[in-house]
Amino acid sequence: MSTLPLQPFLILALILFCMGLFGALTKRNTIIVLVCIELMLNAVNLNLVAFSKYGAQPDITGQVFSLFSITIAAAEVAVGMAILIAWYRNKNSVNIDEVDELKD
């Protein structure tokens, strides 16, 4: 097994995840942050699919699981966007560093 087909997938997923994490931790715009979280989720999904195909015990479960994950991510984004819009209507801003009302 000189060229394990799993490795490139994992590296791609790692790069995607790190990009997502960096974006989620640094960007001010909440929409970008949400997008970055999606990126991290997709990296995870990629991992799941890769392991289900080339893993030690290939199994269809991983692919099914990633489908669930995508669905839930969609729902989560919907909720997140809804909150964001509500907040934008109140504060006229989408900057995440201004969302600190709970600190006191």
Partner: protein
């Protein structure tokens, strides 16, 4: 009958409970009920006494508390002393109950008064039949409670309120001594039963110095209750209570308890000469000290109060000089004439609504019976020949002489002289001379007040004959009996002492007559020539002021110090702890920025850290 002796204190207690529950429903009937039940208690005590003459002693005990191997019982103990006290207390209480019916006639809270009076009587009756020190102590404190309630009966008067508190606190100082003595005694002898204690003491089980300490501690209890120097200041203030209460406190109950305590614990005192010396000196000093104050007081009840303190001093003096019989005998006769004097004073106060003897005078015309009975009481207390006080006082003087305390004997003689002087000063000022009030306004004295006074007058004259060297010393023989522990006590009297006592007594009366009736000496010039002494006496040797500046102010000072300790010491410590915690939590709350991204970064770093540790330790 003797097995029903426990009923005697129970009956007045029952009265107290019933009257307290039915306070609003019974008015006049309540007082009749109280008199009936006290009367029953008296009849019962007479019956018990008659049986006791044959039986000598009678004990009844029930188990009360068992702690390990220690058993504490409650019950009744009857011996000659207890029997005598029982009948005396029941008798005087009954008479005072009857008298109160007239005296308290117009008082709104008559039922409450009778309830308290019954409680007081019950406590004292329970006290004198206690077979062990613990039960004794319980009733001892109940007596204190009863006196507190009665002295403060006119609670809407500030002075009465203060007097009640003073009485309670001052006697509590003494009670502390009694309690410590009681605990020490229990520690040394392992029992609180009188008999077990006495056999341990006579058997020499207790070390000499410890014995002295215990005896003196217990005597401190007696000092507090009997108003001996230096804990006497509550007694004159206790005059704030209604007059029947003063009579009860001074004759048979409260103050008698102290002398009774010494009499009960007499084997303990016999075993320690030092303790006896303390009793003697305190008694002798109190006798002359209070008598000298009594000489210049202008309040009729205050004079009587100081005379009580002085007479109690005589009793203690007798006790201290092995005159056991003399002390108890004087307690017995004193109960009659002091109750009589107070009841007569009560009539006077009832009639003219003042207690200042300077505003009285010439009352003999309107209050004939009162005047005569008061004179009888005064003659008895002065020790006029053939009156009851004569025999008892003369026996005390003999006891002091026989014990070889010649200095104190002289002191006692002077005190006796002062006694007759101030009593007749009081008598002449109140009942003779010109009247300063409109006497025609004085109403009739009710029968309920006259009858007890007449009975007491008869006893004041004749109760001395129970124990004379002429007809036989029934009382003394009976009190000592075959009691091994009391055989060393002095008992008896001599003609010489009798003669001197008579001369002293009559001399005092004549001097009072010269000063206050004949006016051979000018009172004001006497006052001015001894102005320093007069001032000292009129202000009661400044004892109240001394206590005020030393103890009251001292206690307040200590209180102030602790206020500062509380305010600055404890307060500072608390503020420090509070500030520390607030600062700590504020610095903690600064990390809570509300920035979601910071939180996520921290969480991520934490995860990285944990993973790194996990990998480095080779955990997977």
């Amino acid at each position: 009958m003797i097995e029903f002796v426990w009923l005697i204190p129970t009956l007045p207690l029952l009265t107290f409970i019933l009257l307290t529950i039915l306070r609003d429903k019974v008015n006049q009937t309540g007082s009749y009920m109280a008199i009936c039940l006290t009367g029953m208690a008296f009849i019962l005590s007479v019956l018990v006494f008659i049986q006791l003459i044959d039986a000598g002693t009678a004990v009844q005990e029930w188990e009360w508390i068992t702690i390990g191997s220690i058993q504490i019982s409650f019950g009744t103990l009857l011996n000659p002393l207890n029997g005598l006290m029982l009948i005396l207390v029941a008798f005087i209480s009954l008479l005072i109950h009857i008298y109160s019916l007239g005296y308290m006639e117009r008082d709104q809270r008559m039922t409450t008064f009778f309830a308290y009076l019954s409680l007081f009587t019950a406590a004292m009756l329970g006290l004198v039949i206690s077979p062990n020190l613990l039960q004794f102590y319980v009733f001892w404190e109940l007596v204190g409670l009863g006196s507190f309630l009665l002295i403060g009966f006119y609670y809407y008067k500030n002075s009465a309120k203060n007097a009640a508190q003073k009485a309670f606190i001052m006697t509590r100082v003494g009670d502390m001594g009694l309690l410590i003595g009681l605990i020490l005694l229990f520690w040394q002898t392992g029992s609180l039963q009188f008999e077990a204690i006495f056999s341990a003491i006579t058997g020499g089980d207790v070390e000499g110095s410890m014995l002295t300490l215990i005896a003196i501690l217990i005597f401190i209890g007696a000092i507090g209750k009997s108003g001996q120097f230096p804990l006497h200041t509550w007694l004159p203030d206790a005059m704030e209570g209604p007059t029947p209460v003063s009579a009860l406190i001074h004759a048979a109950t409260m103050v008698a308890a102290g002398v009774y305590l010494v009499a009960v614990m007499y084997p303990l005192y016999m075993a320690s000469t030092t303790a006896l010396m303390v009793v003697t000196v305190v008694g002798g000093f109190t006798a002359i000290y209070a008598a000298s104050i009594g000489l210049v007081q202008n309040d009729i009840k205050q004079v009587l109060a100081y005379s009580t303190i002085s007479q109690l001093g005589f009793m203690m003096l007798a006790m201290g000089t092995l005159g056991y019989t003399a002390g108890v005998f004087h307690l017995f006769t004193h109960a009659f004439f002091k109750a009589l004097l107070f009841l007569a004073a009560g009539v006077v106060i009832h009639a003219i609504h003042t207690q200042n003897i300077k505003q009285m005078g010439g009352l003999h015309q309107r209050l004939k019976l009162t005047s005569i009975t008061f004179a009888i009481g005064a003659l008895a207390i002065s020790g006029f020949p053939l009156f009851s006080g004569f025999f008892s006082k003369e026996e005390i003087l003999s006891a002091v002489w026989a014990d070889g305390q010649y200095g104190l004997w002289l002191v006692a003689l002077v005190a006796a002289f002062l006694t007759s002087l101030y009593m007749f000063r009081l008598y002449f000022l109140v009942f003779h001379g010109e009247s300063k009030q409109r006497l025609d306004q004085i109403g009739l004295v009710p029968k309920t007040m006259k009858i007890p006074m007449s009975i007491l007058a008869v006893f004041s004259i004749f109760s001395g004959f129970f124990n004379t060297s002429w007809f036989g010393s029934y009382l003394g023989d009976w009190l000592i009996g075959d009691n091994q522990m009391l055989t060393n006590t002095h008992h008896g009297s001599s003609i010489g002492v009798m003669l001197i006592a008579s001369i002293i007594s009559i001399g005092g009366i004549i001097l009072a007559y010269m000063i206050y009736v004949k006016k051979s000496f000018d009172q004001t010039s006497l006052q001015s020539s001894f102005s320093g002494t007069y001032k000292l006496l009129a202000n009661k040797f400044f004892m109240d002021e001394f206590y005020h500046t030393s103890f009251v102010k001292g206690a307040k000072g200590v209180g102030k110090i602790f206020v500062y300790v509380e305010r600055y010491g404890v307060g500072f410590l608390l503020a420090f702890i509070r500030e520390m915690l607030t600062t700590l939590s504020k610095s903690g709350s600064k990390t809570q920025t509300g920035q979601t991204q910071t939180y996520a970064a921290v969480a991520f770093l934490g995860m990285v850290l944990f993973t790194a540790i996990y990998i480095l330790k080779g955990g997977y």
